[in-house]
Symmetry: C2
Subunit: 194 residues, 2 copies
């Protein structure tokens, strides 16, 4: 039982670092410390383990978003918390890019049936961000703003991965924070709080 969780954990990391297709069963088995034969007792096909990894990432993401919702009292701070990911995960992103974006892109090129499942990870962030903006009073623009923040994260991650430039990342974070502050400033004049 515990072995299965170990496999998913190792595969999750290897898929992120080396890509889904490039990661062999041997590499996963090696990382866990079991034989290839034993591996097949837990997962019959490579797609099966991909499904398990996606499910694990999905529940981990849900937990993280719920945690942010508990930690940060204001929706604006929650959005800022999301924006900060590119700084908090900077080391990994510089080496391997965004876990969601790179996997979605790879599965798209492979024409893999699990692609929508990977897009579902994007949707978790999208709807969560959307809700934050709705709570801030942006009923009409909430999804537009959510997608804008999501696009920010993907753009910064892609170039952080290409150029390894921490100052660029910080400048973009500051820029988005300023954009957010502008939205909030414009809103309170037209839609005063409570």
């Amino acid at each position: 039982m515990e072995t299965r969780a170990h496999i998913v954990e190792a595969a999750d990391r290897l898929f992120y670092e080396n890509g889904f297709e490039h990661t062999s069963f041997a590499a996963i088995a090696d990382a866990v410390g079991i034989s290839r034969g034993n591996f097949y007792y837990h997962f019959k096909t490579k797609d099966e383990i991909l499904t398990a990894v996606l499910a694990a990432r999905s529940s981990r993401t849900r937990e993280m978003l719920a945690e942010w919702e508990r930690d940060e009292s204001s929706p604006a701070d929650r959005v800022r918390r999301f924006v900060e990911i590119v700084v908090a995960n900077q080391v990994d992103i510089e080496s391997y890019g965004c876990p969601v974006g790179t996997l979605t892109s790879e599965l798209a090129k492979l024409g893999h049936p699990a692609r929508p499942h990977a897009v579902g990870l994007f949707e978790l962030f999208r709807t969560w961000l959307c809700r934050q903006f709705e709570e801030l009073g942006f009923t009409a623009e909430a999804d537009d703003f959510a997608m804008h923040v999501l696009a920010f994260s993907q753009g910064v991650a892609a170039l952080s991965n290409a150029f390894h430039d921490g100052e660029f990342v910080q400048r973009e974070v500051d820029r988005l924070d300023a954009w957010l502050a502008d939205r909030l400033a414009g809103r309170s004049s037209e839609h005063p709080r409570h």
Copy 2:
């Protein structure tokens, strides 16, 4: 002689659509209409053809940027021309993402020695955009602005690939155009807007 060019052309397209690692020699040979054996007369290793594809993309990009410089008289229009790529190439981007971003990301995960060569494609756009902003009078912020526009393109491409949403793309293009207009309006003023 012409066969070599055909191979590079086919490989370029297949690397973009299906990814570098996923593309087999057989698939390239098939697309060109030659046998696998003949293939090795022109390219000895897979890395060799990748180098040729990167060189082809590099010269094609240089030509495109030079063309934009001839077509558009003002630097601002040239930047807008770049921004419009995500609309002009929307169909391909929805299916395969950005050719530069996805290849750079894949080579990073593979730990491939040609990765810096792929990053060089980003640098072509970066320095070109930087020069446009310099010509607009932004000496200090030119590279910052260039990277911001580049990040925009990567973010939009990634989410366009994930969600296939043309309206999102247009909204982001409009948003960046507005940002650019603000920069241009504030440039000669002492109190620039955000």
